[in-house]
């Protein structure tokens, strides 16, 4: 029987953690871009568009991420696309992140005083100019802390990509657990590695929030 040293286990998990980080970054950047687009649509005057965005958010916030992953995974296959777990997970987490980020940022835009909209409108700025030069710069200061906080959600969300077969930290932990018959050790390590990724983000988010309120 092959013996695994603690270092073997740890280095294998560290290697797999790269994929967790990569998937998180893709989801965060992609979700941020899509979310920003949705935010602009959310506040546009076009009829029904804002409502459609709020439905989109409702659906993503009212269903389990795990089910969303399955739907994207099998849905893309149904459309005839040859999908890998990585691509499915990246697409799904991007959409998931976009829904949450839009909702977070909506609150931040609403926190900008009404007078700012009226003042900028009285200067004959159109919607795009209002957003770009007046509203978003002010909303952004409020948005930074919750956005960083949401990155923790994303990192934890990537753990579910293991279920559709993407080998990241959680899946690697399962593999180690099965190979070594030491689930206690394996999941403790995995948990600590997630903690090492997430805790600094939580801490940073908290600090930004405190500093803003101070």
């Amino acid at each position: 029987m092959v013996q695994f040293s603690l270092w073997d286990i740890f280095s294998f998990l560290l290697g797999a953690m790269r994929w967790t980080v990569l998937l998180s970054l893709i989801a965060f950047v992609g979700g941020g871009l899509v979310g920003l687009g949705l935010l602009l649509l959310r506040f546009s005057q076009a009829r029904g568009v804002g409502l459609a965005v709020s439905w989109y958010v409702q659906i993503f916030q009212g269903t389990p991420l795990l089910m969303q992953l399955f739907l994207v995974y099998f849905g893309l296959a149904l459309l005839g696309m040859d999908t890998s777990p990585m691509v499915s997970a990246a697409i799904c987490l991007t959409l998931y992140a976009s829904a949450y980020l839009t909702e977070i940022w909506r609150g931040c835009v609403n926190a900008v005083p009404r007078g700012q909209w009226e003042a900028s409108a009285s200067l004959a700025l159109d919607y795009q100019q209002q957003m770009r030069h007046v509203i978003l710069p002010q909303a952004m200061r409020v948005a930074i802390a919750p956005t960083v906080g949401f990155m923790v959600q994303i990192v934890k969300g990537t753990a579910l990509a293991s279920v559709i077969g993407f080998v990241e930290l959680t899946k690697a932990g399962q593999m180690i657990s099965n190979a070594t018959y030491q689930p206690f050790l394996a999941y403790t390590f995995v948990g600590l590695l997630y903690f090492a990724l997430c805790y600094p983000l939580s801490w940073w988010s908290q600090r930004l929030e405190n500093r803003r309120l101070a």
Binding site: I59, G62, T63, L65, G173, F184, Y187, V190, Y194, S202
Partner: protein, 220 residues
């Protein structure tokens, strides 16, 4: 051309109903116990001794910074090797309670801290005991303040319970997994179950918004 066949999925309705039932039971149990644990932890973080504060703080940070699926795997697969063997359902409830407890702790704590100073002084001047002050004066309005946030968190935990299927608890998402492997209609199975979760989430929010003001923080 893509053809959908929802009939074969819906024909498995007894399994869907059983799954729905277990998801509801898991959610109800963990909502009640988790909210109580969260309140106790919030109290401990504000009024407990130094050691207790540290321990609760560590618990909260550990839970909030690791994925639920790892917490579940640790409890179900990890704990037996130190002699703690739990049934599937018990492991799910324990994981959900610990998870909700940590988030509820921070939510309730924020509510407790927002208590106006004058309320405490008024209560003390009436010679109420510390326990009476906490349970009669501080806690009810605190819960009323944070109720929407707590309801949202309970819904998040309910949706998170979909992961319990991964340790083969036969809840709603596991029903989808089983039906999909029986009928080979994966997409349809997951659509049906996802919609069920959506309905459940909306209904649960309505229920709790109705329930809270009437039974949890009764305003007299």
């Amino acid at each position: 051309m893509i053809e959908f066949n929802f009939a074969v999925v819906l024909a498995q309705w007894p399994m869907l109903m059983r799954g729905l039932g277990l998801t509801m039971v898991l959610t109800a149990a963990s909502a009640v116990l988790g909210a109580m644990l969260g309140t106790a932890c919030a109290w401990a973080r504000l009024h407990g001794g130094m050691v207790l504060k540290r321990v609760v703080g560590l618990y909260v940070e550990l839970v909030r910074n690791t994925p639920f699926i790892i917490q579940l795997f640790f409890i179900f697969f990890g704990l037996p090797s130190i002699g703690v063997r739990l049934s599937v359902e018990l492991a799910c409830v324990l994981a959900m309670v610990l998870n909700l407890g940590a988030y509820a702790c921070e939510i309730v704590r924020a509510g407790l801290q927002a208590t106006p100073r004058g309320q405490l002084e008024a209560a003390m001047s009436l010679a109420l005991t510390p326990w009476q002050i906490f349970s009669r004066v501080v806690l009810p309005p605190a819960l009323a303040r944070i109720w929407p946030a707590l309801v949202s968190q309970i819904i998040i935990v309910m949706l998170g319970s979909a992961v319990c299927g991964q340790i083969s608890a036969e809840e709603l998402s596991q029903a989808a997994n089983l039906i999909s492997s029986r009928t080979f209609r994966s997409f349809e199975s997951y659509i049906v179950v996802t919609l069920a979760y959506l309905v459940l989430a909306v209904a649960l929010r309505q229920l709790l918004n109705w329930f809270g003001p009437r039974f949890i923080f009764v305003s007299r």
